[in-house]
């Protein structure tokens, strides 16, 4: 049976904790500060509005310490706003930032309103997966609304990322795994949106035909 290089992760956690004075809890605070590139895509001929609510803007993952893991506080909201901005600016011919779901109230002309959100952020440490990697899964929900704010449909999708653990310090691999998961999710979104050049027409048709607007599209 093969073992990965380096000491087991549980030992690393204990070693790290041993280096910290007993009065201080063993925890890691992290802010994902990565920038994101503009995707190489042809813009869809749509004027889109995007609404980032405070839940997304201020999203923080928090977990208490247990026998196998440190306590974590990971701030990922601002990084997601930067990521979605990069994506939507390239994917749509025109992008308007909105303060709410109803674009009609602002006098701004858009064909569709998009509201991205994070359903769940999951972090798996090497000690929990018996691997040499930190693994991150982020579940997203992308809701499409009419310019008047009526819900049309939503997509659910997941981004996955992982990064090899290092002997000292877990913040860097967790940062890398998180950014990898965000880029993975962005790749899915770009593929799905660029599959349909008549995306706007499809949304309008769906809105007209399905008053309940409950047709979902999951990754």
């Amino acid at each position: 049976m093969r073992d990965t290089k380096g000491p087991p992760s549980a030992i690393r956690v204990l070693a790290l904790c041993a280096l910290i004075p007993a009065a201080v809890a063993c925890s890691t605070a992290l802010r994902v500060d990565s920038g994101f590139p503009r995707p190489v895509v042809a813009s869809l001929p749509i004027d889109a509005g995007v609404y980032y609510d405070d839940t997304l803007r201020e999203y923080v993952f928090e977990r208490q310490a247990d026998a196998k893991s440190l306590a974590w506080k990971i701030e990922i909201g601002p990084a997601h706003v930067r990521l979605f901005d990069q994506l939507f600016h390239s994917l749509f011919e025109n992008l308007v930032h909105l303060d709410g779901l109803a674009a009609g109230n602002t006098g701004k002309s858009v064909g569709v309103v998009i509201k991205p959100s994070i359903d769940e952020y999951a972090l798996h440490a090497p000690s929990g997966t018996s691997s040499a990697f930190y693994e991150v899964e982020i579940r997203y929900r992308l809701a499409f609304h009419s310019p008047g704010g009526e819900f049309i449909k939503h997509w659910s999708y997941t981004g996955r990322g992982r990064s090899r653990s290092t002997l000292f310090g877990s913040d860097e691999p967790v940062q890398k795994a998180t950014v990898a998961a965000m880029r993975d999710a962005a790749a899915w979104l770009v593929i799905e949106l660029t599959k349909h050049t008549d995306f706007h027409t499809l949304l309008q048709a769906q809105q007209n035909e399905n008053e309940n607007g409950k047709d979902n599209h999951d990754s």
Binding site: R38, V40, V41, A42, E135, R160, G161, D184
Partner: protein, 211 residues
């Protein structure tokens, strides 16, 4: 071509396959990309850094393009979810709007895909250390085997074909005997694999790279 190299603690084997010649005329670039699965790469970053720095020191005719800069320039088409896994997928990728233009703009002609990792396969022994008022020390003997297995595949983006492949398989036993002071004797299998692969990749991208 088969090369066998022995050192005190490491044995490495390098295999090379050539399918076509590289076109070294003009200003061509090459990028080394770690294969990614499920959002991450198995290949250690140290191995990629070693390979890049080793090639940078060689007199190559091609420019080495940084991996992250390439991934960002072509985002999101070389992420783990989207990167072509076979040459058959390459034409469809190159036909996506803006992809070929971007590759031409940054001047990358060749991709070297890198996959593999180094793993500890066996080990044993024991060591105990103690510290007292009069000093401290360790006593014991620890050993472990490491296997480094890496594979690279060279693609020509312009002609959508494979140029060749280089693989490395290095193994070695590390020891740490301790009589008061531990003395680590580490088998650097990853480094041996890196140097072996870099030396063979040079054969594809240096002046005398003709078949």
């Amino acid at each position: 071509m088969l090369t066998l190299a022995h050192s005190a603690c490491t044995t490495s084997r390098i295999d090379v396959a050539r399918h076509a010649t590289t076109d070294l005329s003009g200003d061509s670039g090459v990028v080394l990309l770690a294969r990614k699965q499920e959002g991450g790469q198995n290949t250690e970053e140290e191995f990629m850094e070693c390979l890049n720095s080793s090639l940078a020191k060689m007199q190559l005719v091609v420019r080495i393009y940084p991996e992250q800069a390439f991934l960002d320039a072509l985002f999101p088409w070389f992420e783990s979810r989207t990167a072509p896994t076979s040459l058959e997928e390459l034409p469809a990728l190159l036909q996506r709007p803006g992809v070929s233009e971007k590759i031409t703009e940054i001047g990358v002609r060749y991709i070297v895909w890198v996959d593999g990792s180094s793993e500890r396969v066996d080990g044993g022994g024991g060591m105990s250390c103690a510290v007292g008022p009069g000093g401290g020390g360790c006593f014991g003997f620890v050993w472990w085997d490491t296997a480094s297995v890496y594979e690279t595949n060279i693609w020509d983006l312009k002609n959508a074909r494979s140029i060749g492949a280089v693989s490395a398989d290095a193994s070695g036993m590390s020891y740490v005997p301790a009589l008061l002071v531990p003395v680590p004797l580490i088998a650097r299998t990853q480094n041996a694999a890196c140097k072996g692969v870099a030396e063979q990749l040079k054969g594809f991208f240096a002046e005398d790279a003709a078949l």
